[in-house]
Amino acid sequence: MALQVRLPYPADLAAICTRLQDDVALRLGELTGLQVREITVDIEQCNVESTTATPTPAVDLTKPPPHPGTGGTALVGGDGSATADTSRLPHRWWAARRIPSALTAGLVLAGSLLLIYKVVAAGRDHPTGWVGAAFAQGLADRPLGDAWVIVVAAVCVALGLWMIMAALMPGGRRTLPLRPPEEDPALRAGLGRAAAATALRDAALSVAGVTAVRVRVRRRITVRAITGFGDPQRIETELTQVLNQARDGLGLAHPPALTAHTRRPS
């Protein structure tokens, strides 16, 4: 017997389904006298009940999380466990290298299919001298000093180097790993570099006197602000403070160092 059900969510679905199975088996036995041995339940939809509970008071954003190596924030909290977790998170998630692999696989596939075609054709026509026939009129016939051979060999060297680099470098530069508030080895969270830059730009623009900002997030964060009115010294101090706070508020596993420059249009 098989049931297809829609269940409320969030709930312990397995417990509900087990109860359902028991109930159905029992009622069926009472009403018809049939003994059902197996009841398969297929949950085809979950209906989310809008939870009335307000979102839990998340993290206190006015207080930056404790980070190692951010200088002043060491005072804020002596949360030693959080520091230990941070050191275990990598600086980058290693990329799966799907696109280089797909390109290489396509190249190998096309090359071997072409060779199969040539070998089959040559073997049919020249059963004895097929090796020579298969590779006739190709690069293999030209002397090594030929310009074409040199170009193709150079391309092979460059492609090979690119593949080796793709295999050895981590990649995934555009995602900054985030540190989850609760430790969870099965969870990976990352923030796009562009998103981090936008958040910092908005923070910088909240400083009075800053009229335009350019933010660059690379190995370190560079902020170039153009100021309008006000005391440049004060603006710079305030800007640095606001940006540091914003950066720490992102919750990055390894917050990059930050430099801020201000400039007044002449």
């Binding site: 969030p10 709930a11 312990d12 679905l13 397995a14 087990t18 009841i39 398969t40 339940v41 297929d42 949950i43 939809q45 979950c46 939870t51 979102p55 954003l61 290298r97 799907r98 696109i99 692999s101 696989a105 596939l109 071997s112 299919l113 199969i116 097929w130 090796v131 590779f135 293999a140 030209r142 002397p143 090594l144 000093g145 030929d146 051979v149 040199i150 060999a153 092979c156 060297v157 460059a158 090979g160 080796i164 793709a166 295999a167 050895l168 985030l178 508030p181 099965a186 969870l187 990976r188 969270a189 990352g190 923030l191 796009g192 562009a194 958040a199 908005d202 623009l205 508020g249 919750g251």
Partner: protein, 201 residues
Amino acid sequence: MRAQSAVNRALLASIGTVLFGAGLLALAGAWDLYRRWDLPRPTRWLPTTPHGALNRAVRHGGFSTWAWAWPVTLTALTLVSLLALVWLLRQLPSATTRKTPLGGTVLRGRIMMRGTALAQAIQEEILDVSGVQRARVRVAGSDSHPSLYITVALDATGSPREVLHALQSGPIDHARMATGWTHLPVDIRFSNSPHRARRTH
């Protein structure tokens, strides 16, 4: 996914090394480095002078006189192309999990969950979190080992740290509780919806 990365990287490294080595050998022959630097010749059938061609060298080698050379070559090539095809297909994005058994003990029959149903429920919960503008949820992977892929676009007020905390204690916790997969792997990517810079006074 981590296993896939390792396989891809190992294959890329080995094919790259072969290409790199073959290119270097050809260039060494083309520039006559063997004679100039007095290097030992690698094998008999590889041409090592600018005037030597691969074909001539192979034809004079012993390979083509061997009776089994043709079938062996074809078999090897077929094998290589099949492996390349499998490798290529493995790079396609992993399919959405269709039906997967819920965790817990099976007493009276299996309890199956549809991947799309779970994904939709999680997505609805995520959209309720403040600071989230858009969310995309996929339950992907094999039926026995599903994982959760979440992409969240934050709005102008959303902080990744705050939203991550809300997700962890809300939708992700609920998903793990509801399905009984206590170690369901989760991958979350935050982006933000592009918005214009605006002054806040």
